[in-house]
Symmetry: C2
Subunit: 315 residues, 2 copies
């Protein structure tokens, strides 16, 4: 029997906070770890100095395990990995590129390695390469997405591997966490649900839009650009971008240039019209801003209550 996620990471609850570029910093990640899950600092678009400072800052804010996300498309990924090996957070997640070459060096530094994978083939490949666990992310997630959904991935990936599988994408409440664990997941990663946490540094304008949003309020930009699909809230920017894509008259380079910087514009500057507010499909559970601890306790309470109802289902 494979170890559980909570055993592998030494955490209380099987809940990770998904890394979010320009948003998930040391303060936010430490709050999630202090609440019993594991927070993750994002290094996408950041320098090695930022990475070192944030890991040190998180260590000053929590004595619990936390992680760092490495964006494998980043030009400075080698230098970021070097800093991480020196500063030694409990674990890393890695996505948007080939994680295999980084597994052994990070583990040699005492860091657990959890690649983010979008399908069965890559799940098997990183298991064989010795990864400690995987995050498997469905396309209902916010931000950069693949094509397979959470239910399709839970159905197909979990039976094919024998190490902890953390499911991500579309989870917003304890019922979903219970369902994932019942299907054999070892944990769940949530991003969007934590965006409205008081400790989350995303701009207040974005939090307000998320609280107001309905289930149908996300849109995917970049579907016509290979590998560039990003899910976020419908607004002036995202709807215009998709209209241009469907019209087919704007070349890919121009579209990529249009998208550059729009995540930061929303998340940091609070421009909810011209920025891209990255978010997943499960938006109705976001009803107010509240402390991370309250969100986490509500999630776990509901997950326990849901699992307790299994005995009453007669089929």
């Amino acid at each position: 029997m494979a170890k559980s996620l909570t055993e592998v990471l030494g955490i209380k609850y099987p809940v990770l906070q998904g890394a979010m570029a320009w948003i998930s910093d040391a303060g936010f990640a430490a709050a999630v770890s202090n609440a019993g899950g594991a927070g993750i600092i994002s290094t996408g678009g950041r320098t090695t100095e930022y990475t070192r400072d944030e890991i040190r800052r998180a260590k000053s804010l929590t004595d619990k395990p936390f992680g760092v996300n490495i964006m494998l498309m980043a030009p400075n990924k080698e230098e970021i990995v070097k800093v991480i090996c020196e500063e030694k957070p409990a674990f890393v997640t890695l996505g948007a590129g080939n994680p295999v070459p980084f597994i052994a060096p990070l583990q040699a530094a005492g860091i657990k390695v959890i690649p983010v994978v979008p399908n069965v083939k890559l799940a098997k490949r990183v298991e064989k390469a010795g990864a400690d666990a995987i995050v498997v992310e469905g396309m209902e997630a916010g931000g950069h997405i693949g094509v397979l959904t959470t239910m399709a991935l839970m159905t197909q990936v979990i039976p094919e591997v024998n190490f902890p599988v953390v499911m991500a994408g579309g989870f917003g409440d304890g019922r979903g966490i219970a369902a994932a664990l019942l299907m054999g997941a070892s944990g769940v990663q949530l991003g969007t649900r934590f965006l409205v946490a008081e400790e989350c540094p995303v701009h207040a304008n974005v939090k307000q839009k998320l609280i107001e949003a309905a289930d149908t309020d996300t849109i995917v930009t970049g579907l016509t650009i290979g590998g560039g699909a990003v899910r976020g809230i419908r607004n002036k920017f995202s709807e215009h971008f998709v209209a241009l894509e469907n019209e087919g008259k704007t070349d890919k380079k121009a579209l990529l240039d249009m998208a550059t910087g729009t995540n930061k514009l929303a998340a940091v500057d609070g421009d909810t019209e011209n920025g891209m507010m990255q978010a997943g499909q499960s938006l109705l559970p976001l009803k107010k801003t509240e402390p991370v601890k309250d969100i986490m306790e509500a999630l776990m309470r509901e997950a326990r209550e849901t699992l307790a109802q299994a005995k009453d289902i007669k089929i």
Copy 2:
């Protein structure tokens, strides 16, 4: 407390067989009903005579409840509804249009009405209009699809309504059925999983391709054409079609003309290169052709075993 799906329909197992145009006929639907679920005859692209004959034939093959699907984009939908009211199958499912005007007439004929809906707003609307249950279908399903996924829909729709919710999209095994029931669904609809049933009349060439297919082997055509998204197996036709869409030089009318007839070409004629093999994302559970009864019993056994494991999950 709302009635359960099995109570509403008078069936043994909470499992519907999703309607599939040119595929799910009386023989196939009756086999699913005889196995304890409820089969559904597809009338998409069919005449009133076909509809009447197939309902009568299904009644000769099973004394169990079965359903008929009404494609609300069909030009002959009014006439099809009239025939259904006369022939009285146990229930109908209705999709691809506004089901509300048809609810009262069908119920007056003693037929249960189960609209297929893609989001919270429409789920609430058909509940208010008196529908007996709903099918809520995630975009991992095969054939015509919306944009929300099964996990996002289970998270957001189920808490908002108080009548039986049947989840569809991405289910391929008993683990998924157990997870849906645990989240509060009253049943599950499977399409792709039943395509490899011995009693399923889809062409043997298609069954073979489905058995060989991996999790990443579906593609969605028509994403750039409003309302025209269809999921099926990657092949010469579907990959060429999507390439033309992304290139943006072919107008929508020409694309729609290209797609017309391609479902039948695969399903009936067995052309797996130039036809569109409609199928959902959960393909790995399809390992061989086998009787519907064996598929159904395996699904239910695994669902029961999975639910029994809930008590061992400590969080």
